[in-house]
């Protein structure tokens, strides 16, 4: 009986997380377009609803009812699988991300996370690495030259930065002494307890890796519009196309910003000035600030060349993370 209750609880919670993430990702497109507009001194979506508030709905309706073309020459199975392989792992990371501490509501203990496993960080990294298959499959299955080049470029970028990302996370893990995201947050008490003060190097590498993994501008070689038509998703139309930017630009960026908040900015810790809701408000505020920072970088900077990107990954980022690990390990041993 108890097992049944737990199962139902997890199913309901997962549904809420998935549907919520869908709606949020739809409106993140509006946030990004408005932000891009104001960066470039133009208003952005303005006439569809009040200041473009209905724009994501119009886009979703259009994309969903668009003709779904599957070209004759593609590898059909991989072609269908690719958009799912890109989208599902991105949303799966949500399963391990805590959004706050458990709260009591009507005598029920409600946990604002789906599961709190003791290897949460490794699971998040693993799910993140699976999504690389979506990109490679999409490039390969399309059987066309621009998707192929785009997919291979993205694969090269991802492989380089996954390694740097993994090593960058070792610093916070050593300081917290745990892989559990909840325990990592609990290890950062107070304003100067946040790991950003002790791990600035790891944070910089993490930011670079997030930009590279989500294909944002200094590293957006995979869909460089001037060179490749639309990158690895050139042959996709309708919602099969819609899943790629949704997963890559919005859900992945959102989830990796949440990880950045948990690992470096003390998660939901903050002054209790909003009453019972203050952990959530702090967490979402920090998350939004990190997300907007990534958008800011995206819409301001030009793009690196492909060879420069891989060079930065292997020759700069990786040695930096090793240096960070040695320094952190030394300090941890000295301080006991």
């Amino acid at each position: 009986m108890e097992l049944l209750a737990v199962t139902i609880g997890i199913v309901i919670k997962s549904l809420i997380f998935i549907i919520g993430m869908f709606l949020l990702a739809a409106y993140l497109t509006l946030v990004e377009r408005k932000f891009a507009g104001h960066v470039q001194q133009r208003p952005g979506p303005l006439h569809v609803g009040f200041h473009g508030l209905l724009q994501p709905i119009a886009d979703a309706l259009k994309v969903l009812t668009k003709e779904d073309i599957v070209p004759n020459f593609v590898d059909k199975k991989l072609f269908y699988l690719a958009s799912l392989m890109a989208f599902v792992p991105a949303i799966m990371i949500l399963a391990v991300i805590p959004f706050g501490e458990p709260i009591k509501l009507f005598g029920l203990e409600i946990k604002p996370y789906i599961s709190d496993v003791n290897v949460a960080l490794i699971l998040a990294l693993a799910f993140g690495s699976i999504s690389i298959y979506g990109v490679i499959f999409a490039g390969w299955a399309s059987n066309s030259k621009y998707p192929m080049i785009g997919g291979l470029r993205k694969a090269a970028v991802l492989i380089g930065y996954e390694v740097a990302l993994g090593f960058a996370l070792v610093g916070p893990i050593m300081l917290a002494g745990s892989f559990s995201l909840r325990e990592i947050v609990e290890a950062q008490q107070g304003f100067f307890g946040a790991f950003i003060w002790y791990q600035p190097l790891a944070f910089v590498v993490y930011l670079f890796s997030v930009l590279a993994e989500t294909g944002r501008t200094p590293f957006d070689v995979q869909e460089a519009e001037a060179e490749l038509v639309a990158g690895y998703n050139t042959e996709y139309s309708g919602m099969k196309f819609g899943l790629f930017p949704l997963a890559e630009w919005y859900i992945a960026t959102f989830v990796l910003s949440a990880l950045a908040v948990i690992l470096f900015f003390g998660g939901w810790n903050g002054p209790h000035i909003f009453g019972a809701l203050s952990p959530y408000i702090w967490f979402l505020t920090k998350l939004f600030l990190v997300f907007m920072f990534l958008l800011w970088v995206h819409w301001t900077l030009p793009r690196y060349r492909v060879d420069q990107i891989t060079e930065i990954a292997w020759k700069v980022m990786l040695p930096l993370t090793f240096l960070n690990i040695f320094i952190t390990a030394g300090i941890v041993i000295l301080k006991g």
Binding site: P43, G44, L61, T65, I69, A230
Partner: protein, 173 residues
């Protein structure tokens, strides 16, 4: 769309109406330019005129776009490519013929120029001008939105402009 009983919050509508609203508010053109009209098209998308206000963003791939803006002279050599791009676009799709050259050959009544792009693909809106100003292209896009709405309502929209908008005579209303 019908609103029942004044202001008690019930709105009745049909699926076609909602879909047509969604389609006309998110027209994504293919970014293809053929001649000098393309410069004006880019200008329309850039900061001063900003097509993103109406939800119009340029997509690189024809598979992901709804509108083909034929911006410039269609010479015989590029005509097959243009037809191919039109065929690669998924339905529902629309075509805006921008400028005198693509509408009817313009100042090039020669052996090498296609005398009007409507000889190879169906055109929804013709925008006059050489090249049309960004205001005129915006006017064309608004006409296309009106046309999509009219088609859903079962009407036919055939408007001939008294005067196309230019920099000194902008669109009213």
């Amino acid at each position: 769309m019908a609103i029942i009983g004044g202001n008690n919050g019930i709105i009745l509508t049909t699926v076609e109406e909602v879909l047509s609203w969604g389609r006309r508010n998110s027209l994504w053109p293919v970014s293809i330019g053929l001649a000098c009209c393309a410069i004006e098209m880019m200008h329309t998308a850039a900061s001063r005129f900003d097509t993103d206000r109406m939800g119009i963003i340029f997509r690189g791939s024809p598979r992901q776009s709804d509108v083909l803006i034929v911006a410039g002279t269609v010479v015989n050599k590029v005509a097959p490519m243009l037809k191919l791009i039109y065929d690669q676009m998924p339905d529902p799709k629309w075509v805006i013929s921008m400028g005198g050259c693509s509408s009817g050959g313009g100042p090039f009544p020669t052996y090498s120029t296609l005398q009007g792009v409507d000889r190879i693909i169906p055109v929804d809106v013709y925008v006059p001008g050489c090249p049309p100003t960004p205001q005129a292209l915006l006017w064309g896009i608004l006409q296309l939105q009106k046309k999509i709405k009219a088609k859903q309502e079962g009407r036919e929209l055939k408007e001939i402009p008294v005067r196309t908008p230019t920099a000194s005579f902008p669109i009213k209303g």
